[in-house]
Symmetry: C2
Subunit: 279 residues, 2 copies
């Protein structure tokens, strides 16, 4: 059992290994370095108690952040969609990611910010045109994400990007769990709580496209690299289904069984300034 | 008048400045370095005749490649869509980009590869929550792109990504032209030729969302950085409108008036291997 994290440390981010109630910190910038076979990993450069660690986005500089929409039957139904024949894919940027315990800023230009608890995975080996069976071996580990979505921006056009890619709105982490520890996430509970109340509860065994299917499909068109992040979709219970949304002051918790919890305090977007939009 | 390129050179890519029939090559990795105010740019490390230069994707490692769909009235009509109220945005990866004269591989997993000639721009300064007027100043320069699209993959789901992000299928370049030289691309002809026959011909003055509008809109949700690439959309005449597509052996030429030409020989995808797909 090994768990890894990416911590904010001095002037940047550092790879850290869980050791009981502490993290051992290494002279590496994040979890992608686990998969690059770099020499000199044996010695840590420091230790920090888990309770005092400052978690960066688990994979801080991925070349690709790829998400699957409509991948649980109950969420497909609540959004009024047909069961898909292929994964519905969209992207985020590295800058969209946030730390597992970071405050979650509500963009003041959006009137409807929604939650989407998800199992996420980090690529551990180059993956190009792999079968699902081979794709399983390219998965470096699993973690937790919340695909926080600005629904009004998402629905302005047919393409969802604008509502999915606001900077620092997708918590990712806190730890990377190796595939063996969670049986490749075949049957884990995925839960979203808002102020302690369960809003979403699904099981990864209900995924239409399992992690290896997703990696295989994406690898048909692009060569995935270590550190790339894939989000596998969200179960039923999103706010969009009941006209509900996040409000400043709430606590958003995202659990994946056996992996961990993201806990984010929802805050107003203080950095925002009002400007004219193109329209 | 200054024109810049990114060339393949020794073990990587290098920034180059056009000097008549030659490029002066600098110890910088590409055009994004133009905007980072690095010292020591005065001395070139070499020269190469323009005719012998090996062009890399003009911006080789952008953090964001963002594209606008449905941005010319005639293309909106041929695709049977309504005139949009907001830019329709989707993304590619850095790995999707190709050099201006690279061979264009037809993915053997796609039965319909289509062309989309486009004006592109490269961000020259950080851009966050800018008005269109201020966004103009964040544009570092203009260039040429072809948003080559795998229509069958694009249409499998509501989200276009899979058809837009096959590795090495989007020529970008060959040169970055500073905004003053082309009056911020306000009224330039955009042309696509297949084996010398004009298939698309539009003018940037017909764009629904002009470059500054697009930069402003995107900057509402993410902080754009120097080197980021934006594609502005394609005029009417795509193959999808007439059930036409690219075939190996053809020459695809993409012109933007006053900026330059991408010229790509269409080839079979020799790297391909047949695998099972997730479905």
């Amino acid at each position: 059992m090994t768990r890894w994290a990416t911590l904010r440390w001095l002037d940047g981010t550092r790879l850290a290994r869980r050791d009981g109630d502490e993290y051992v910190v290494y002279a590496r910038s994040g979890v992608a370095d686990l998969f690059h076979q770099l020499p000199g990993m044996s010695e840590g450069i420091g230790r920090v108690p888990v309770a005092e660690a400052d978690h960066a986005p688990l994979s801080p500089t991925p070349s690709r952040v790829i998400c699957v929409g409509l991948n649980y039957a109950d969420h497909i139904a609540e959004m009024g969609r047909e069961r898909p024949t292929h994964p519905t894919l969209f992207t985020k940027f590295a800058s969209t990611l946030a730390g597992a315990y970071d405050d979650l800023p509500l963009p003041d230009v959006s009137a409807h910010v929604d939650w989407e608890a998800e199992l996420a995975l980090v690529i551990g080996a180059p993956a190009y045109r792999l079968s699902p069976a081979d794709a399983l071996g390219a998965i470096g580990g699993y973690t937790v994400a919340n695909d926080v979505s600005m629904r009004d921006w998402q629905r302005r056009t047919t393409q969802w990007l604008a509502g999915k890619a606001f900077d620092a709105t997708t918590p990712l982490g806190p730890e990377l769990v190796t595939p063996d520890e969670v049986d490749h996430a075949r049957d884990l509970a995925v839960t979203c709580l808002l102020d302690g109340v369960v809003r979403q509860l699904g099981r990864t065994s209900d995924l239409v496209f399992a992690p290896a299917d997703i990696v295989s499909y994406v690898s048909q068109f692009t060569r995935l690299e270590p550190g790339d992040v894939l989000l596998t979709g969200t179960p039923g219970g999103v706010g969009a289904a009941t006209d509900d949304g996040l409000v400043a002051g709430q606590v958003l918790e995202t659990h994946v069984e056996g992996i961990g919890v993201c806990r984010n305090f929802v805050v107003a977007d203080l950095a925002a300034t009002t400007v004219e939009e193109a329209s």
